[in-house]
């Protein structure tokens, strides 16, 4: 039997078990960095597969390794995130969240269940590949500061079996793509994301006496207008950049100018050098505009995720392997950059990374809700696809044992 078919067979065989994992996790969601029960559950499953998980990394993270033949030859990593969101679930399903106000509305239950399934399959066929697969179950993807940089700081990418992690893989559910489809993008994929909070400080007072007032409302308006030039005049035109302000609160009245006004916004782009430069420019301009008008501002920019870059060669290889595994018609090359962000980006700045999207939509079953909504759900058939593809990409990246490889397409594609 071809190894590819064996992977497919196992993914199918364990689909019921993976569904149970997912439903348990979905029914018992936990917020970022509080994934205690989730971590315990993950560790228990890993142990039941015969693995030896390490818990308590980055508070609630779990790491385990699956060793193939010649485990020291190469190490790659697979990553899942485990945290849920502060959303009240509105789905009426048997596995509905039992924790009021908390919901797996971003599919991290799916990512975790799939990685458990992948671990089980890899462990079962460990004699078929060479090297080591590191399984990273990460906490706190949804918050800033998030789980990935803490995991990295605690050494998750460092030497294991005497080898540094060479490359890392992960995927994310995508409710805009049909179940069975996956999407890849070579190079930059998701934006960096920094939250901006500006408190404009002036001197409030009666609106009829402008000379006694340092007008926070006018400073705020000038600032928002002025900051447009960060994108229009300062950003290198070839680097996509967005600066948006969604919240402005000047809480005076028709005839009272307040002492302070609040502005909140987001800055997103795809280049770390420009990102750092832009943040400095935003601070300088905000200070200059407000101070020039007789006021001042407190500006805090909370650095979020960097931009996510899919390593070119690795991703191109993965696309071909995915095409051979799922059929060309089921692998989409994503045409556009996505201005959203994801903390897997932190890994992508350390080692070669490949991040793809996993279709979970099923219009016939009315599974269409977007992530981060109270009615988000998935077509669970997606998980068999997820386990199969992730296992396949891991195996082929590591190097398949010559004795077992019977698939010539892999042989061709898999050339270092």
């Amino acid at each position: 039997m071809y190894l590819k078919d064996e992977v497919k067979r196992l993914a199918k065989a364990y689909a019921g078990e993976v569904r149970r994992f997912r439903r348990f996790l979905h029914a018992n969601p936990e917020l970022s960095f509080n994934e205690d029960q989730t971590a315990e559950y993950v560790a228990e499953q890993l142990e039941s597969f015969g693995l030896e998980p390490t818990e308590g990394i980055a508070e609630t993270g779990v790491v385990a390794v699956v060793e193939g033949e010649k485990p020291k030859s190469k190490v790659i990593a697979l990553r899942a995130d485990m945290d849920a969101l502060p959303i009240q679930e509105e789905n009426n399903v048997p596995y509905k969240s039992r924790n009021p106000g908390i919901m797996h509305a971003c599919g991290h239950d799916v990512h975790t269940a799939i990685l458990l399934g992948t671990a089980k399959v890899l462990q079962e066929i460990r004699t078929s590949f060479e090297g080591t697969v590191k399984l990273i179950f990460q906490p706190g993807e949804e918050v800033t500061p998030s789980g990935a940089p803490i995991m990295i700081k605690e050494g998750v990418l460092n030497a294991s079996q005497g080898k540094k992690v060479k490359s890392i893989f992960a995927h994310h559910v995508n409710p805009t793509a049909d179940v069975g489809k996956v999407g890849f993008k070579v190079g930059p994929m998701l934006a960096s994301c920094d939250d901006i909070t500006i408190t404009v400080k002036g001197t409030g007072g009666h609106a009829a006496f402008p000379n006694d007032v340092v007008d926070t409302v006018l400073m705020t308006s000038q600032l928002i207008v002025n900051l447009q030039q960060i994108v229009s005049r300062n950003a290198p035109p070839h680097i996509p950049s967005v600066l948006s302000f969604g919240r402005v609160i000047a809480d005076g009245s028709s005839n009272i100018i307040p002492d302070t006004a609040l502005i909140e916004g987001t800055f997103r782009t795809f280049d770390e050098t420009w990102r750092a430069d832009a943040i400095q420019k935003i601070i300088t301009l905000a200070k200059a505009v407000t101070q020039g008008m007789g006021g001042d501002c407190d500006i805090s920019i909370t650095p979020g995720c960097p931009s996510l870059h899919n390593a070119s060669e690795l991703t191109k290889r993965s696309i071909k392997l995915a095409q051979s595994f799922l059929g060309e018609e089921n692998v989409e090359i994503l045409p556009n950059l996505i201005m959203g962000s994801e903390d897997f980006a932190f890994y992508s700045h350390e080692v070669d990374a490949c991040f793809w999207t996993l279709g979970v939509r099923n219009e016939a079953k009315n599974i269409v809700s977007n992530i981060h909504t109270p009615t988000f759900d998935i077509d669970e058939d997606a998980m068999e696809v997820g386990v199969g593809l992730m296992t396949w990409l891991a195996l082929t990246e590591l190097g398949v044992n010559e004795q077992t490889i019977k698939d010539s397409s892999v042989d061709e594609i898999w050339k270092r």
Partner: protein
């Protein structure tokens, strides 16, 4: 005149305790604009007890009172007080504290009303000493658009009636917590501003902050409008014409990464010329709507037209100032600056010769320093005797002037 002045002063002193009681009663029983039912009944009763019978209701809770001297058809001078209180919770710990939670005489209208009651009593006792008629106007709703003054005028308060002339002039006073008690302030010509409230709604198309191409950003458009409207003052207003355009509320209730559909802006426009005021309204509306349209949004620019500007008739005010100097001593009468706040006495000033002066009520030694419209506003009640006496004296002077 010296003899008459002494009589006025004596009567003011004689009735000062009663005026104080009236003030405290009204202060303890405040009523909001256009709801001054008990207040006006109290005023009616007090006037009756002084023997002042010629009373007529106007604007529902307003009262017009005639005090006729000799030859009552010869000339009429109007005196005005306002009676309404504010929706403020009084924080003063005084025996006459508001008995109505959330309603307070925080703008001194209790002082104006009780003073005018005292003036009515004094003038009524001096009936034989003057020729002509005093028309006393106790008006409702100074604090609320459209302003009680405009309703009183609609009801004919400035017309000839009951065998009396239409008033040729009108006098009003207002407490001033910046002026020490015993001090009076005057200003000839332009004094208080017109005030219009502006409510702007900019409607764009909200969405995720990371997808600017899919949204029409009302936050940015609102900012452009606020910045562009500065030129109404800097480029369109006659530089000699004081004008203020201020925005105090901006409400964009999205999030760091969510652009809202709608942004609300609230502001005020104040100036001193009715023609320019109307033109400024047109320009602001056109500019805001034009900017919004050009940027793909819509803008609802709603102007709640408030009171006109208040102008003190120069000759009348000069006469009143001289009379006040005689009554108070020259050193106790001061000049006032332009005041960008608004007052509905302005409506009378657009119709007849008007003089609106300020009654000092401050006493730092007693800690009486709070501004009007604050929960701790109070007055040095020594101002009441002056309020009643001086207005009587000014009224008598005006009636006798040619």
């Amino acid at each position: 005149m010296e003899a008459l002045k002494s009589k006025v002063k004596d009567l003011a002193k004689k009735y000062s305790d009663d005026i104080l009681k009236d003030r405290r009663h009204i202060h303890a029983h405040p009523e909001l604009s256009f709801q001054e039912h008990e207040t006006v009944k109290y005023v009616e009763g007090r006037l009756k007890s002084f023997g002042v019978e010629l009373q007529e209701r106007a604007a529902t809770t307003g009262l017009v009172v005639l005090i006729k001297g000799k030859n009552p058809e010869s000339k009429t001078v109007a005196l005005r007080a306002d009676m309404d209180a504010l929706p403020i919770i009084e924080a003063n710990d005084v025996p006459y504290k508001s008995t109505k939670e959330g309603v307070m005489h925080a703008c001194g209208h209790d002082v104006h009303t009780s003073s005018l009651l005292g003036t009515a009593r004094i003038l009524n006792e001096l009936k034989e000493e003057f020729e002509g008629t005093f028309k006393l106007i106790f008006q409702p709703g100074e604090e609320k658009i459209p302003g009680g003054a405009s309703l009183m005028i609609k009801d004919g308060v400035l017309n000839a009636a009951n065998q009396t002339q239409a008033p040729g002039s009108i006098i009003g006073q207002h407490v001033m917590p910046f002026l020490p008690v015993g001090t009076i302030g005057f200003r000839e010509g332009l004094y208080m501003a017109s005030a219009d409230e502006i409510y702007v709604t900019v409607t764009g198309k909200g969405g995720h902050g990371a997808m600017p191409e899919k949204i029409i950003d009302p936050v940015l458009i609102s900012s452009h409008i606020i910045v562009a409207l500065q030129q109404i003052i800097s480029r369109n207003a006659d530089p000699k014409m004081p004008s203020v355009l201020s925005f105090g509320t901006v409400e964009a209730k999205g999030a760091t990464n969510v652009i809202p559909d709608v942004v609300k802006i609230e502001g005020t426009f104040r100036t001193y010329d009715e023609e320019w005021r109307a033109e400024a309204h047109r320009r602001m509306k056109k500019m805001a709507e034009g900017i919004a349209e050009a940027m793909g949004a819509t803008c609802n620019f709603d102007i709640h037209v408030g009171y006109p500007h208040l102008k003190n008739h120069p000759m009348l005010t000069r006469r009143m100032r001289q009379a006040a100097e005689m009554y108070m001593g020259k050193e106790n009468v001061v000049d006032l600056d332009l005041w960008m706040a608004a007052e509905d006495f302005a409506y009378y000033s657009q119709e007849v010769d008007a003089c609106f002066y300020r009654l000092g009520t401050r006493n730092e030694a007693k800690g009486i320093v709070s501004s009007v419209h604050t929960p701790t506003f109070d007055i040095d009640e020594g101002a009441l005797e002056i309020g009643a006496g001086l207005m009587s004296w000014l009224a008598l002077n005006e009636l006798q002037s040619k």
